[in-house]
Every structure is written in C-alpha cells, then in structure tokens.
Amino acid sequence: MIPISWYLILGAILFIIGGAGVLLRRNVLIVLMSLELMLNSVNINLIAFGYEMNDPRGQIMAIFIIAITAAEVAVALGILVALLRNKHTLEVDNLTIMKG
C-alpha cells in the first residue's frame, strides 16, 4: 500500500519541473508543453485525494480538467499558427505586441 504523501510529493516535483519549463524556455511550443505537465501534476493530486477519501469527485474534477485542457490546447495552437504566419517567430522574447 502506497502512502498518499508519495503521490503528493511526485505531483509537487512535476509541478516545479513544469513551472521551470514555463518560466525558463524561450520556445512558445515548449512553454505550452510544460503547462500541460503542470496540469497533469494537479490531476495526480486530485485523483490521489479522491482515492484516499473514497470520493468520486476527485476523478470528476480530473475529467473536467482534461476536457478544458483539450480546448485550451486547440485554441492555443490556433493562435500560435496565426501568430507564426504574421510575425515569423516562436520566441517569447520577441512576442511583445501587447507590451507584456
């Protein structure tokens, strides 16, 4: 039997790796992939707590997260293709149209 804290520590480690990818990489595609990794680590936490508390709501929340992530990725990649067509760059340093 695996203690739940192992799952939580794994989720924390994956979340930090994903955060490092989001903050440190220059390529927008890899920033998006690291975002997926962060969302997945949150899913691990939710399902671990749902299993531990014997409650299906953890899994339901994870299902909704997966559905919303699919929508987000479709829109984000559409924006990315349109952006690349107009600006010919994928590096986050050069994408300062909105003065961010």
């Binding site: 039997m1 695996i2 739940i4 192992w6 799952y7 939580l8 520590i9 794994l10 924390a12 994956l14 930090i16 790796i17 994903g18 955060g19 490092a20 903050l23 440190l24 990489r25 220059r26 390529n27 595609l29 890899i30 998006l32 992939m33 990794l37 997945n40 899913n43 691990i44 399902i47 671990a48 749902g50 299993y51 531990e52 014997n54 299906p56 899994q59 339901i60 299902i63 909704f64 997966i66 559905a67 919303i68 992530t69 699919a70 929508a71 990725v73 479709a74 829109v75 990649l77 559409g78 924006i79 990315l80 293709v81 349109a82 690349l84 067509r85 107009n86 994928l90 590096e91 340093d93």
Partner: protein, 180 residues
Amino acid sequence: MEQQFFILLALVAIGSGLLVVIARNPIHSALSLVACFVQIAALFVLLGSPFLAVIQIFVYVGAIMVLFLFVIMMLDVRKEAHTRFIQNGVMPTFLVLLALASELLLLLSQSSRLHAVMASQRVIVDEPTKHLSLSLFRDFLLPFEVASVILLVALIGAVVLARSEDRTESTQKTTEEAAK
C-alpha cells in the same frame, strides 16, 4: 510490490519531465512528454481509477500530443536550437522556483492539518467506473454539458483562428476581381 511499481513509474515520469524542459529539439520534448503522460496513466491505474487512465492516454497522448507534433512538424522550428533558455532574468526566475519548491515541500512535510486530512479512509471499490459514471451523470450533469459547450466553442475558435488570414485574402481577391 506496489511500492516498487510506484517508484519505477515516478522515476521515469520525473526523468522524462526533466527531458521535456532540457531537450534541444522540440520533437524530443514532445516525445518525452508522451512518455511522461503514459507513466502518469499507469499511476492512475495504481490509484484505482482505470477510466481516468484510459482517458489520459486517449486525450493527452492520442489527441493533444499528436496535435503538438503536427504543429511542430508543420512549422520550421529548427533555427533556434542554440538558444534554449531565456537570456535575461534567469536569477529571479530561479529564486521564484526555489521559493515555490521549498514552500511545497515544507507544506507537505510539516503541515499537521494536511497530515490530519491525509489519514486514510481507503475502501476498495468493486466497480470504480460505475460509481464514477453514476456520480458524473447524476450530480454533475450541468458541468458536463457546460464542458461540452466549451469544447464546441474551442473547436470553432481554433478553426476561425487558423483560417482567418486565408479568408481575408480571399475576400480581398474577390473585391479586387469585382473592382476589375
């Protein structure tokens, strides 16, 4: 036995997660992210939610990562292979990450309330998918329908975003032809 499985899956997941951030080639990042997602799906099986494991493989590996690979292979992304990481502001980023990591680990190791919550009430359920579907369609029907509407909106939005320029070009062409 379960614990050895968990350690194996967790080590491979962390290693491939690191490879996502470190790899030079975006295709290597995408493939190692696929490996990481498969490990996480196996962890979901260990957590007694086989439906989520299947959904994870179908949606993440089968749809999202294939979409990523399509976009990577359609676009030319090889020219920036020599500058992987951001140039300025690396130190503040590391400080933020270090603060986040220490906070998370302190919370997980020291918080007595969290440990009280984590006291196990584990019951082995016969048919976890049956319980999940009953709860999903009985108590969470409205969020389910809202999620389907969000997916439809995202579908239409992605098509409009990816095709917008073609349409303006074609409308310009038709107006030019009309002018001639």
